[in-house]
């Protein structure tokens, strides 16, 4: 990177967001459009004024749409505009303004609409199940991991290193949920006590239910512009002063889990651009990412560049993080209080800095005279840090806006108790894979079959690496050719006592599973793997405990990580194995080349959204409904809850227009010979695209016709009464 401070200045000039709900009635695109309409209104612009759009949303597994960014184009206001989607897992929400900043600071565009969205609720039975596929498919997923396990493991290490008690960490949850009482988008704001957190159910020790942010549906949008444009507006802009984003290795068991160096480095990048040399003194407001309460503290250490952790602990215990304190932290209420629709949460924090630094935060306004703030997000496999530093321009502005007094009812977003309370669509995609093991993992997994843990050794840096790899990621991809059998003993670096399964379901009563990161003897420092621990009294497990692998009988071993049943404590007097033994790696030929089977074990229940509910309700009665946009005087088919041309929210009930379902004309059709899985159909079917007089758009569905070859453009058809909700039930027949 260069050593330059920031040249082209980029300002935030407007923000919008939906309420954050556990389940929203609106579809993903509808939520997004609502946030966009508000952001444009706040900036005093229309969609025609916008040069380009960038969008952040985290895993597609939540929304349940492959290439979700493509699906969100219309809702993001990006029709016929330059549009790109970016993501870095949980760090996405702060990566979004950074990507938007690139669009404007590069000089290519004068402004950029930055949009974020997450709809987690479609993923059933619980969105947490989507997290199993964040782990390595071959070496980690077979263990049944989910996000809460990795958080608990990290929290345990954090507490061990910095000497925090659970009660001290719980103060963060109390603070955030209280602050969120004043936030209009808040999902779980409440007055709670440290005792409430401590008494909430233990999910995966040390993590308890009230240590965790919720799963959420929500969207947030901001408008960025260049300095010239920002200064032409009547209200005070807030400028992005510095940005940083850093992504660490995916081999997370090889990393210091107590101190997030990647966040510290990202912050250092941002500080260099912003000219900050003493962050604790030069930053007025902190919005660290707080998906779990300890995470806020974990991140704050890095934001203050303080690996000792003493400063943050002092600030926490002295009450300095309160809104009227010296270092207000999460004045918004954060993910713990406002909610956590992943990507939208990060941008909500950017919006909070914009509100605070332009004096629009109303009841949430911090007491001190704040000129500069920092927002940060984090994610992936404990691996990414994204940081933005923002400042008001000169003197603290005093500005009352719509945002100063907004209440929950002023924000869009309709909460649902159950998806099944509204029209909905079920889908269980059959997503199966077979992952090539390749050069290094073939030898590594062969080791498990032999009852051995295998590493590979880099001659350049001297690291013994687990799992074995064919190149060294820290030595300019230098080839690694030396493989070793390592002792199957090691040391517990951190652990969790878990009562939940990978899909967030509770383990049977009395059942508990211990996951631990184990530094393997003979491998490098901090070079570990994750596995289960058993044959141990949970009260006696501790960091530093010596353990040994317990293997399945040879006849049952197949060459995967479950060939090791678990690790158990080394017994008194029991000695560890000898030093590493160099071996010949497995030679690849058609019999040894193997792939590891996998699947995405997820199902979805989608709400039909505001527009889909109206459309399918009417179609069940044999009626066809469109939606009128008064701004452009267009009637859209199918029904829609927003106009993608004008980017204004529409009401499919009030703005409904009836269309004669018998007046359709085929403008496109195709005879299809395969089903959705690519299997040949017994009888070809016809897909038709049908236009109706006086409307913009068409309806897509199946054409019920005896002879598929008779389907043709220009054919008149009528829409039949739908038997259920969903596109598969949209059926035309030739007009009588």
């Amino acid at each position: 990177m260069t050593s330059k401070t920031m040249g082209n200045r980029v300002a935030v000039i407007g923000a919008g967001m939906t309420r954050f709900n556990r389940r929203a009635k609106e579809s993903s695109g509808e939520l997004t459009s609502m946030a966009v309409e508000m952001a444009l209104e706040d900036a005093g612009l229309t969609i025609d004024d916008i040069d380009c759009v960038c969008l952040g949303t985290a895993p597609d597994a939540f929304d349940g749409i492959h290439m979700n960014g493509e699906n969100l184009i219309a809702g993001a206001g990006a029709r016929n505009k330059p549009y790109m989607r970016h993501y870095v897992g949980g760090g996405t929400g702060i990566m979004s303004p950074i990507h938007g900043w690139m669009h404007v600071a590069s000089g290519k565009f004068k402004n950029c609409l930055v949009v974020t969205e997450e709809k987690m609720s479609p993923c059933v039975p619980h969105p947490a199940g989507a997290f199993i596929t964040i782990f390595d498919h071959t070496t980690e997923q077979p263990l049944g991991l989910t996000l809460i396990h990795i958080f608990s493991i990290e929290m345990c290490r954090f507490m061990h290193t910095y000497g925090y008690t659970e009660e001290e960490i719980a103060r963060v949850s109390v603070l955030c949920k209280k602050n969120a009482l004043d936030h209009p988008a808040a999902q779980i704001a409440e007055e709670i006590s440290v005792e409430d957190v401590m008494n909430s159910p233990v999910l995966s020790w040390p993590v308890k239910r009230l240590d965790i942010s919720p799963t959420s549906d929500g969207a947030c949008a901001i408008v960025l512009s260049n300095e010239h444009f920002a200064h032409s507006l009547k209200k005070a802009p807030v400028f992005i002063e510095g940005v940083g984003f850093r992504l660490d290795t995916a081999y997370w068991c090889t990393r210091d889990l107590a101190y997030p160096t990647y966040v510290a480095t990202a912050a250092a990048d941002a500080y260099r651009m912003a000219g900050i040399t003493k962050p604790a003194e030069q930053i007025d407001i902190f919005e660290p990412y707080d998906p779990f309460d300890y995470k806020a503290l974990h991140h704050m250490n890095a934001l203050l560049q303080d690996k000792s952790g003493r400063k943050i602990k002092d600030l926490l215990l002295s009450g300095a993080f309160e809104r009227d304190g010296s270092h207000p932290m999460c004045p918004s209420g954060g993910a713990l209080g406002v909610g956590n629709p992943i990507a939208a949460t990060g941008l909500m924090k950017i919006a909070e800095l914009y509100f605070q630094l332009s004096g629009q935060a109303g009841k949430r306004q911090v007491k001190k005279d704040a000129h500069r703030g920092i927002a940060q997000a984090w994610g992936d496999l404990m691996q990414v840090g994204t940081v933005v530093v923002m400042s008001s321009d000169g003197a603290m502005p005093t500005f009352q806006s719509n945002w100063s007094n907004k209440k929950a009812d002023d924000l869009p977003g309709t909460p649902l108790k159950d998806v099944k309370d509204v029209p909905h669509i079920a889908d269980s995609p059959d997503l199966r894979y077979s992952w090539d093991n390749g050069l290094a993992l073939t030898t590594y997994l062969d080791g498990f079959k032999e009852g051995k843990i295998r590493g590979s050794h880099c001659r350049n840096c001297g690291r013994m690496m687990i799992p074995a790899r064919a190149f060294c990621e820290v030595c300019n991809l230098k080839d690694v050719v030396d493989y070793y059998d390592l002792p199957d003993t090691g040391t517990v670096m951190t652990y969790t006592l878990s009562y939940v399964d990978w899909d967030s379901s509770k383990l049977p009563d009395g059942k508990m599973r211990i996951f631990a990161v184990i530094e393997i003897d003979g491998a490098g420092e901090d070079m570990g793997l994750i596995h289960w621990i058993d044959e141990v009294d949970p009260k006696k497990i501790k960091i530093g405990m010596r353990v040994k692998a317990v293997w399945k009988p040879e006849s049952e071993r197949v060459g995967n990580v479950l060939d090791c049943k678990y690790f158990r404590p080394l017994k008194d007097g029991e000695k560890a194995d000898d030093k590493p033994v160099r071996i010949k790696p497995v030679e690849l030929h058609t019999e040894t080349v193997k792939a590891f089977p996998g699947r995405i074990p997820l199902s979805y229940l989608y709400t039909a959204g505001i527009a889909g509910s109206k459309f399918y309700d009417e179609l069940a009665k044999g009626k066809l409904t469109a939606t009128h946009c008064a701004s452009c005087d267009s009637v859209f088919l199918p029904a829609t809850a927003f106009c993608e041309k004008c980017m204004v929210v529409l009401d499919p009930e009030k703005d409904a227009r009836s269309v004669d379902p018998k007046s359709g004309m085929v403008i496109g059709c195709t005879v299809v010979h395969e089903d959705r899985s690519g299997h040949t159909l017994d009888k070809p079917r016809v897909v038709a695209q049908v236009a109706y007089p006086g409307t913009v758009g068409t309806v897509l569905g199946m054409l019920d016709i005896d002879d598929a070859d008779e389907a043709e453009i220009g054919m008149m058809v009528e829409l039949t009464r739908a038997k259920a909700t969903g596109a598969e039930h949209v059926v035309f027949k030739p007009a009588q």
């Binding site: 990177m1 995916a250 077979s434 300019n476 496109g668 690519g678």
Partner: protein
């Protein structure tokens, strides 16, 4: 715009690549690109990867990017798009003045995805467009409406397949290059009429890595830099009920952006070679129309054989074209070299159900506008 392509690496294309994990496939392409650019991984400021979760089989697939590029703990993020979208983003990033040297990466392990049609079906809107039949239905409607409006016929579309697959015979990177005639294409098994199986690019494995640098760095370091003169990207209308399927509006707008930036006034005359997405054969013609190069000789189009010959590399498709374009501008394209090629256009399309496209203009020599 003061950006140069300093080095390229392409490990592929293979119908299957058992024996190399995705990490090893990418590391191989990265090593090629870094050697070509005259750099070591440690000199890079960061990376832009281009990936989709369900193609990789991971949620938040960006996690698994840094190691095999040698850029752990650097400024790395992931774009959803064609490879060329990643190039466009990296170019903006360098032009902020805060970054000098970036790598763009995408890969395909298509052979590891056992249920590709299910996956594509899963990309359609769950409320409006999952019809329970082959997700290629949209290609059938597109090809029909394109022919209706453009005057092209099935024979013209078949000739695209013939030409591209024949070009692929001379390309060592093209496992699907072969000698085929138009009747073979037209009489092939129908998938979504009028689209036949032969009009659809077949999946393939491969990794593409490209090093981008600020021009001053490139001129100091790279053995043979190629210059990025214009970038553009656009997604048209994502609502397929309200999209004009006879044209690629995304390509039209993206090319207008790129041409304006690069000073291209008359594409058919100014451009020596066009690389365009041909994931479906009719899309090649549609994209050429949108780029302002219609009805002309196919000789200057996809000299590498395109995706029909090289294979569908998912997010890496535009990257494979870009690598060939760079070799072309360097005069290193071997038997498919177009003599005197100095300026080329590369266009990428994301595939169904999108009209998301990106366009870049490349020059063999630095131009000052």
């Amino acid at each position: 715009m003061n950006i140069a392509i300093m080095g390229v690496g392409f490990c592929g294309s293979f119908p299957a690549s058992g024996g190399l994990s995705y990490r090893e496939l990418i590391a191989r392409a990265a090593a090629m690109a870094y050697a070509d650019a005259g750099i070591e991984a440690e000199q890079l400021d960061g990376a832009v990867s281009v990936e989709e979760d369900f193609v990789s089989g991971y949620s938040i697939a960006d996690e698994y990017v840094p190691d095999q590029l040698g850029v752990q703990r650097k400024s790395v993020y992931t774009i959803c798009g064609d490879f060329l979208h990643g190039v466009c983003s990296a170019a903006m990033q360098i032009n902020t003045g805060q970054f000098k040297l970036l790598v763009v990466e995408a890969y395909s392990k298509a052979s590891n995805i056992l249920t590709k049609d299910e996956l594509l079906h899963f990309s359609y809107d769950p409320i409006w467009n999952r019809l329970g039949v082959t997700p290629n239905y949209l290609a059938g409607i597109e090809m029909q409406q394109f022919m209706e409006c453009s005057g092209y016929g099935p024979q013209d579309v078949a000739e695209v397949v013939v030409k591209n697959k024949t070009c692929g015979v001379g390309n060592a990177f093209a496992p699907y290059g072969n000698n085929i005639n138009a009747q073979d294409v037209l009489l092939a098994r129908q998938v979504a009429a009028p689209v036949t199986e032969q009009m659809i690019a077949r999946p393939a494995d491969g990794a593409v890595v490209v090093v981008l640098g600020a021009t001053d760095v490139a001129l100091e370091t790279a053995r043979n830099p190629v210059f990025l003169s214009g970038t553009g990207w656009c997604s048209g209308n994502s609502v397929i009920e309200r999209r004009d399927h006879a044209v690629s509006e995304g390509t039209i707008i993206a090319s207008q952006m790129a041409y304006k930036e690069a000073g291209v006034k008359s594409p058919a005359e100014d451009i020596d070679a066009f690389y365009v997405s041909d994931l479906f054969a009719h899309r090649q013609l549609m994209h050429l129309d949108a780029l302002g190069f219609a009805g002309d000789s196919l000789a200057r189009v996809n000299p590498d054989g395109g995706s029909l010959a090289v294979g569908d590399l998912f997010e890496a498709n535009g990257g494979a074209r870009l690598v060939d374009a760079v070799n072309m501008l360097r005069g290193e394209a071997g038997s498919r070299q177009i003599e005197g090629a100095r300026r080329v256009v590369v266009q990428g399309w994301r595939g169904l159900p999108t009209d998301s496209c990106a366009v870049v203009v490349l020059d063999s020599e630095r131009r000052t506008s």
